[in-house]
Symmetry: C2
Subunit: 204 residues, 2 copies
């Protein structure tokens, strides 16, 4: 039997982007188990690296989390899709389409899932999610709801539906909603979301 493959001390050869691999592993594991549930050891294992190296690069688990949550996804892409049209017409469909595009691929949903899962177990993470939703989502969408009566409330109601959808479809995996094709969801949900915009202008 030759030498043991892993376990040799000291620097490795070449110039592997170890820090990046740790970050990627962190996003995945945080996404699967949330902040408290993800152990530094598990993240290190997923990155194929000694746990101490994680601390060497990021100092503390919390800093690693913050680093992993940074640049969660391309903000301009999302904002762009939603803001394609600054009028309220079709905002329901644009919202659900953007949502499905981001959550459809694991890489896209990992950071938000991590934030969401963590927010359920950790007040600090809840604060983080709050400010993320406020800044990254509402801050942009709100311009559409600007001048709309109860605009903020209506926008948040839309967001709350999408968060619930994320949980039911991607976490709890309730059938049939977990397996239904994207297009069916768009047809089902878009007009309902749209009502949060249109409803503002109806008589009471």
């Amino acid at each position: 039997m030759g030498k043991v493959l892993r376990g040799r001390s000291g620097r490795r050869r070449g110039a592997p982007d170890t820090k990046g691999e740790i970050l990627a592993a962190a996003r995945q594991v945080f996404g699967e188990r949330g902040y408290d549930g993800a152990s530094v050891r598990a993240i290190a294992a997923a990155a194929g690296v000694d746990p101490a190296l994680v601390h060497h690069y990021f100092g503390t688990k919390e800093k690693l989390f913050l680093a992993a949550m940074d640049i969660p996804f391309d903000p301009s892409a999302i904002a762009g899709a939603i803001m394609d049209d600054t009028s309220g017409a079709g905002i329901g469909e644009r919202a659900i389409r953007t949502f499905l595009a981001v959550w459809g691929q694991p890489a896209g949903r990992a950071p938000i899932l991590a934030l969401l899962r963590s927010a359920m177990q950790n007040e600090a993470a809840a604060r983080l999610l709050r400010q993320f939703v406020t800044r990254a989502i509402l801050g942009r969408v709100l311009s559409i709801f600007e001048g709309v009566p109860n605009g903020a409330l209506r926008a948040e109601a839309m967001v709350s539906h999408l968060i619930g959808l994320a949980i039911v479809r991607y976490v709890v995996k309730l059938e049939p909603i977990a397996s239904v094709p994207d297009e069916d969801l768009v047809r089902l949900i878009a007009p309902v979301l749209q009502r949060y915009y249109d409803g503002a202008f109806e008589q009471d």
Copy 2:
């Protein structure tokens, strides 16, 4: 100084419903931190009891959780409120009203919050929540959606919105939706939910 108040070994006097107190504490702590986050020690402390007593009564943490999730709330009360009328008319308003009634008081939301939080960190709990939603909610509401095209899907879409609302309002506490009066929420959300029923009969 007199004797120490707590810490004396052996059976206590009187006939305190200790088992019930542990269950209540379990519901609260599980509700606050989820399954993984709630330690047996924390639950015991909340019940004013030694951790070993928890194991004495319930054997294992998992069994305690199952016991705490049992009879989470009066099923007939909820089903009754939703089923008041077996027609689809007004189902949107009845759904949000029932939701607010249950989640409005801590005792009502604790068990479901516990299930929800735990489902985000624990696959086993996710399975539990899935079957709870299926049996306790959908199983009853579905009779209204019986014969409705895509009835199950529409019912689940409604539920997903309410779950998202629960998270945004009671966990993440996003403002203004976290503080808005119940009646305002009813006015805002009821007609939107209603659309999941009415929409089934519109032309495509």
